[in-house]
Symmetry: C2
Subunit: 490 residues, 2 copies
């Protein structure tokens, strides 16, 4: 132990929390605390506050660019990106002008893709290439990949040759694959090295190393990955220990062609922090770190949510016309559905003419079916995405959902039946109750069968399930209610 040179037991190096109970002496008042390393986290744990955004906008409007530059100097790239996103579009170009000298291209990699193009257009290609050249390969690829052909080519042409080659190699992989995500700087060591030799190598390598890394990869003479070693395991070993003896039990190599969703699942399943990317011959070509994976997980979740809502892939920063266009497709599909439902209703025009109460009540059956079905559908789509629902338990889940449909169908049949009875008489109550059971049963069944079927056909269940389901619950809802009414009441 190394306690000899300290008086306060709290300053001991520790592998655990401080002793419980009150501290031996009361902490000094707030203002006396040493602050050279501490940020005031309490007010703004992350990101930028709306008031701050407005203040910067004001300063830009009155031309106080020097003050703004000073204010933003120590800002994290992610916070600068947030500021660019949230600031009034009128002063966005002024803000970029302030950031221009020595622009940190990392800001672009944090920026919403819709705004990235707008911001990129404010720079000269040469200027931008210089900024992008400072980035890690994965961030450079992230910034470049979504730009239009022309801008992308211009930036690539202005990159230093070595960077360009690496970026182009990543871009040669399809979008949304591991090859696009991987970082090319990494630390690989031969199997026979010791801890001491590895430390000497790392100390001598200096700037050639990636800025941060979490695992060392052990490679054979053909540069094929044979193991991974966590840094914390290297650090606690004596210099004489062989690196090959420290490799983790389970090595998870990622082919460059693996879909990014699969990459995310792999990281999630085994709580990985970094993983080696390999070519078809098993040779180490890059590394994916968990921060990229967090980004992918967010992207995939957003994607699923927006698809389920039929909102396409536009967001709050997209241009109005792009948003409108992106949503028309889904609305057209819904229109077709709505007309199919209208067609069903029109079959019973004569019935409705005789009993107008049917027109009043018919949306209730369809709406309850749609909602109950959406509940089932949402659970099924999410369970498919998180792999909780698979061929192994599909039939059990179908059975459960049908049972839920019948139970809740029964509950609401009684409830709605009674209300309709009071409002329009007993027979209408019986008709709507029967239609309700039928439609909630159908909703449960199709709510899980539709996403399962689409998944089996390799169609993303998030994007298309909803429309099929609503068609089913509308058609069945109107047909059961109006059909039963025609049969029983007339």
């Amino acid at each position: 132990m190394h306690a000899s040179d300290q008086n306060d037991p709290h300053a001991l190096p520790s592998a655990g929390p401080p002793p419980a109970g009150p501290p031996p002496s009361a902490p000094p008042p707030e203002e006396e605390r040493p602050s050279q390393f501490r940020e005031e986290e309490e007010e703004r744990p992350y990101g930028v506050e709306p008031e701050f955004v407005e203040e910067i906008a004001q300063q830009l409007r009155v031309g106080r660019t020097g003050a703004v530059r000073a204010e933003l100097e120590d800002f994290h790239a992610a916070d600068v990106a947030d500021l660019i996103e949230q600031i009034d579009p009128d002063v966005r170009a002024d803000l970029i002008e302030v950031l221009r000298p020595g622009f940190d291209a990392e800001v672009l990699s944090y920026l919403n893709a819709d705004l990235r193009e707008e911001v990129v257009d404010l720079f000269e290609p040469k200027e931008l290439a210089a900024a992008v050249a400072e980035l890690d390969t994965d961030d450079a690829v992230d910034v470049i990949e979504d730009l239009d052909e022309e801008t992308r080519a211009e930036i690539l042409a202005n990159l230093p040759e070595e960077d360009r080659a690496l970026v182009q190699e990543n871009l040669a992989y399809e979008e949304y694959t591991a090859g696009r995500l991987m970082q090319r700087d990494l630390v690989a060591v031969p199997q026979f090295w010791t801890v001491g030799r590895t430390l000497d190598y790392l100390r001598a390598a200096g700037d050639d190393l990636p800025e941060d890394f979490y695992d060392l990869f052990v490679v054979d003479p053909m540069h094929r990955v044979v193991g991974a070693v966590r840094l914390s395991r290297v650090m606690r070993q004596k210099r004489s220990v062989r690196i090959a003896d420290l490799v983790t039990d389970d090595l998870h190599t990622i082919p460059g062609t693996m879909d990014q969703e699969e990459v995310a699942n792999l990281f999630r399943q085994y709580a990985l922090v970094s993983a080696p990317v390999v070519d078809p011959a098993g040779r180490l070509i890059g590394v994916i770190t968990v921060d990229d994976v967090v980004h992918v997980i967010d992207e995939e979740a957003s994607d699923d949510i927006l698809k389920l809502g039929g909102a396409g892939d536009t967001g709050v920063y997209s241009a109005t016309l792009d948003i409108a266009k992106a949503r028309v497709g889904w609305l057209v599909v819904n229109l077709v559905t709505a007309f199919i439902a209208a067609g069903v209703i029109s079959l019973f025009e004569a019935t409705i003419e005789q009993i107008v109460a049917l027109a009043v009540l018919m949306p209730i059956v369809a709406s309850m079916g749609g909602n109950a079905g959406t509940q089932t559908l949402t659970v099924a789509v999410r369970a498919l995405a998180t792999r909780e629902l698979s061929a192994a338990n599909a039939w059990r889940v179908v059975g459960k959902e049908v049972a839920v449909g019948l139970i809740n169908g029964g509950v609401f049949a009684v409830l709605v039946g009674l209300i309709a009875w009071v409002w329009f008489g007993p027979m209408i109550g019986v008709v709507i109750a029967s239609a309700m059971v039928i439609n909630l049963f159908v909703a449960g069944l199709f709510g899980v069968l539709i996403p399962l079927g689409l998944d089996r056909l390799d169609i993303d269940p998030a994007v298309a399930s909803s429309v099929f389901l609503t068609t089913v619950t509308d058609v069945v809802g109107f047909f059961a209610f109006l059909g039963l009414a025609a049969a029983i009441l007339l």
Copy 2:
């Protein structure tokens, strides 16, 4: 450089990818590759395949428990948890029996919460306490926190005293806070230490250290965090360098009381891998690592998706009656909405009696409004969750959504108007076209105002937005269409 003892340039330690172009020699055929460290990743990159689950179930049914035990011996806890989840419930208890000797409690922390209780009940409290004692504090808390009071108390009573104290300290924090997530084993060093002294300390500490760690935390004599140092930065420095000179620019400390969603946002914003948790006096009490945060991100995304779909917090592993109960609430709310809409229709019974075509067409207006509104709502809810939508840009987004509503309202007014004209005559076309513009405008406006308003009232917009929106679009849809019809056609 250390290249002298190797012949193949690929075996060089490298801080970059291997040279591009074809390898100097063709890779040996697949079966000749050294495999002691390599898994065959191609077939099963993660998790368990349905066929494998079925095979294990078969073996359990015929009582071949020895074979199953051998098969599962080297399995990752996450994969074992998947197997328990997906296997036929009939043989689940048999599977647990196989896993019982030296049971790895980490399996429980990966297990779906609905099944955890079921599995826990198969063990003796003492047995379980012994398994839980092997876990890191955060995993132990994760396993214990959702169990019923009695089981929880039994396990706690059987834990070794030191573990129990730590677990209870974490449990003293509210659910869904940083205090519940934090790991208590960590590495803290005083400011004045050097790299060399830190390495010596780590080498001597042995088993007292956490199994894996990514940052060292620098503390002052009062055990307050003054900085964080990434391991990769320590490793590349000479022994004489002071640890305090290696701290990262930005230190993000997390109060134990911080909501887990905020923790996730902080990790996401600054691409953190681990972060120190502090008590109100700024003293280091624990560490949160990114793998826990990935779990939180998934949980929050699932939550938002299920809430938007009105599916409550049950999943595919919940009991049928629990699922049915969880969904009833939302369906009751929807029923009220549906009856409000029915009430609006009933105001126009006389109109419908004269023109039955109105009954046929009226669901179209309501349905299109509901869908267009849901598109807007989904984007707004997600943007609020990811902080892309805030007070700074709220009015701009509202303006944009209203514009989108008017544009698409115009498009579909023309389309639907023409179809209705052909089907039922020109004046009905005019009526439905006008109603469509009105309803899509209202859908855009309320699709963003409702989530913004709920967010301002501190109500989760994901859970309640949908029902308010559908009420608005149904009421406005039916009222505009039938009202205009009554005014113009009669």
